[in-house]
Subunit: 608 residues, 2 copies
Amino acid sequence: MEVTRRNYKDSLNTVYSAIEEADFLAIDGEFSGISDGPNVSALTNGLDTPEERYTKLKKHSMDFLLFQFGLCTFKYDQTKSKYIIKPFNFYVFPKPFNRTSPDIKFICQSSSIDFLASQGFDFNKVFCNGIPYLNQEEEAQLREQTEERRNQHANGVGTPSYISPSSKGPAHVPEEHKDFINRVIEKVEALFTNSEKTLDLEPCTGFQRKLIYQTLNWKGFTWKPLKQKSKVDDEERKRREQQKLEREQEELNDAVGFSRVIHAISKSGKLVVGHNMLLDVMHTIHQFYCPLPEVLKLKMNILNTEPFWLLLDTKLMASTQPFKEMITNTSLAELEKQLKEGPFKSPQVETAEGFHSYDTAQEQLHEAGYDAYITGLCFVSMANYLGSFLTPPKAYISARSKLVEPFFNKLFLMRIIDIPYLNITGPDLQPKRDHVLYVTFPKEWKTSDLYQLFSAFGNIQVSWIDDTSAFVSLSQTDQVQIAMNTSRYAESYRIQTYAEYIQGKQQDKEKLGQTAKTWGDDGWVKSHYTSSTTSGRLSPIPDEEEEEEESSEGTNPANDAEGTVTWQQATRKGQKNKKKKSKGVFVSLLTLLNLPETVQTVTWCSFL
Amino acid sequence: MEVTRRNYKDSLNTVYSAIEEADFLAIDGEFSGISDGPNVSALTNGLDTPEERYTKLKKHSMDFLLFQFGLCTFKYDQTKSKYIIKPFNFYVFPKPFNRTSPDIKFICQSSSIDFLASQGFDFNKVFCNGIPYLNQEEEAQLREQTEERRNQHANGVGTPSYISPSSKGPAHVPEEHKDFINRVIEKVEALFTNSEKTLDLEPCTGFQRKLIYQTLNWKGFTWKPLKQKSKVDDEERKRREQQKLEREQEELNDAVGFSRVIHAISKSGKLVVGHNMLLDVMHTIHQFYCPLPEVLKLKMNILNTEPFWLLLDTKLMASTQPFKEMITNTSLAELEKQLKEGPFKSPQVETAEGFHSYDTAQEQLHEAGYDAYITGLCFVSMANYLGSFLTPPKAYISARSKLVEPFFNKLFLMRIIDIPYLNITGPDLQPKRDHVLYVTFPKEWKTSDLYQLFSAFGNIQVSWIDDTSAFVSLSQTDQVQIAMNTSRYAESYRIQTYAEYIQGKQQDKEKLGQTAKTWGDDGWVKSHYTSSTTSGRLSPIPDEEEEEEESSEGTNPANDAEGTVTWQQATRKGQKNKKKKSKGVFVSLLTLLNLPETVQTVTWCSFL
């Protein structure tokens, strides 16, 4: 179902009940851009920590607009033993609510806009009929304003919202308007002496209206006396007051707009499935709740949305065992195709009556509603596949099954070699990186220079940080000390161990301790917007398909020796953490799949 | 005529000849926003200097996108004694030309987008079919790249554009791709041994293609040997080379795209008329030529476009005598209406065959093509009205008449009390502001506090600069010294004369002398983008109609005593400057209108 400002109000109850009855929800967002940083590679270093990656995205991706939000609800029908789905495609736009509401600015990235255009995206629906929204702060401000106006009104000290403080003082009435204004003032004053109930103003421009209010204001007029003089009897006035109150309340809800859908999803506590969903989640928080907190605050559920969103990322699931051996390309489109073939089974789904039923044969990729829909399909296929391990095998695995629990609240990280996910509700993996060197050098250097510098150490891997620094992963850890020694007297470049590098960053961070604490304000800090129009740098256009490919490469241990090693270390560490947190899950999983424990541990460790 | 990427190439000659034959051109632009500053009032202080205003707009308005450009050509037909017009409405969008071309980011302001949407603006035409463009720097870079590729090709050292330097070095081939890649490499190597002419690749993904190139590259393969092996005979190869060259040249022109229209306008040297056109001109330079220079460099015609654009601003014309007494509202729509009535005459126009003819009865305001059209009409009406002063009166005044010359290259400044325009080709007016005080105070202060502080000095005028400073204009200059004395021991606030304030700014500027000199680079400096989404500040939505009203108020001497006084001073100064520059014009004007000199001087001085 397509939802715009036009049919938003009428659809709201349909949306609410769909969420209420659902077993799980699938979501997807389309944005006006991805990164306002110099280039994507700088934004995604292969050895970022989850916190670093989150911080980069927070800084370089939040000034774009999430303008299409896809929601597909999945409800399992036991009798039909199939899922009943309800897909929604919301168009979202921050239409200013009134003359004092925030005038939001957002960035568009021409490559992203061009990509969406090539997919037949309808920008008019966004900009002309997008559903407005407010974040919590804006909503609070608006409620305050309304409250204030009400009180002022009650106390008879009224100032129309469009008289700014700085316009107080005697109004400067231009010559050509003086006659008109004077006529009006006379009329107003007449109200007090004669028997007229109402005041008919001549038609006038916004500017003239402003002058009238300013002049009256300056002459000490307030709106209450005027009202009293208008001699409307009390019952009538009460009735009008009541109507006004209701109207104001409704206007307020309209202004909160699409945020109400997001709040409903939060309240539902349902499992929310997405594909490569980190940016979707971040934009959702940023646009409809509050400026993004630090990663730690995020993990502490700073949003106080109880219950906290329960998330599952199908891209992470697909790039983890047992799936990662079977699925060569984890981009959504490819994943959906591969899950149609054995050993997987396409889930039985039926589109609820009155909803547009998508046909996966003729793809409508990158319409958020459709992407959400097939994301849900992929989740069901993979979950059910896990069920086939059970004895007896189960064909249907519920969204809350212990089998999928290991994936909860872990968001896929693109192109990080040894850390597959950001853990929203627990500590992040800390892979050993003692084979990694942090190298700084003149900005003229290219990768080839680094290969030359380390030619003695056999196969190395270079992860660029910026023009003058990169991580270099050696194939053997014991080479690190040798490299350090040889570099001691080098002048053009400098080498640190990864440990030293992290320590340095930690110290810098502690220096900034204060600001870190006041994250709330820091959230309001203006992000630095760099426009490529005026940048000499030429940044490549991100190619969706290839990006996905590379990302699957990035987290696939098969890619290179080091990768595999660290991955194993990472996941074992991860397992330890997890064990502490949910021994229950671990045990129950072992009993569910009754195979020798040794095998289990492997399966399990690759599950995390 | 509506011009998008679809019909751009076919229309180009029509556009060129329309410009060539025209007597004058009218233009208008539509933008994705106006100001990314805190709010409009901060951007337009009533006592800005022209340079200050220009610098503010440069900083706070250039990250928006000019995405619709209106051009209407006016050619006078002696025989029909009417203008033949050709209106064009161009949709413009920086579609990335290839994977290495700049990925431009631009800001959208929700109030502006919402306003255009309410006017029925078609965003899909912009984003899906907008004509691409390059500025001079980007065009040069692209030509360089093409040149390089050609040479590399000739020397046989070829690297496909999508192998970034950092991807040099041994390609890391994921397990699942290894077999495929190896098969391909074998095939390539086979080329050298067997008699095959061509190499058939299995279908593969972009990522696999990349791996192939990287691996071959690493193995020292270059494209020239491959070509030689392909054994195509020489004539054939030459023919292909030639085709390739032509194709590249055409692609290059396509990339330069809409900038070619702008260059044609420059080359034509025709008078370019706009309404309130400062932002249109600034965006045109910024988007299609180069980052905006400092105002001084601009006046020195840094663009080296010979002949330099000859500009005329109808809003300035309408708010200057003899028109300013007759025209109460200089917003384009209102101006057009008022110029239909006596003493003015609506010009006789005829839309050229094959062009969409606009009907001014049912307005299509804020379609750039239409706005350009009625801007041209307004210019003709006002110019012809000036002709009625001649003896004998002339009904038709040409675009190059001495009567309109005084308005050339002077761009209207919104809401500046005593300086009506930015002079592009000469020194700016320097009105005496010795009745103005620069006051700094705690940020809690409101206008009312300032009125109280200066209550002893009768009627004052306050122009806010920011939260903690404002200009206060006293009605009498001799009060300034008194105010200064009384303030000597004040602690909460501080008062400077306007002269002191300017001196201070001048000194700050001299400190920054160096950066000022390297304006070229400084043009590349990233502008600081502040997103209102994360700003506590609520900025009012600019109301087109009212803005215009206020601006007409701003430059209309009738508004307030000081205004008139300073305006007179300003224009007399302006006259002096002008006299020096073009005594010829002055004299000829006197002879044209043979009335007593005294009267002349008045008319004349109000003309400037």
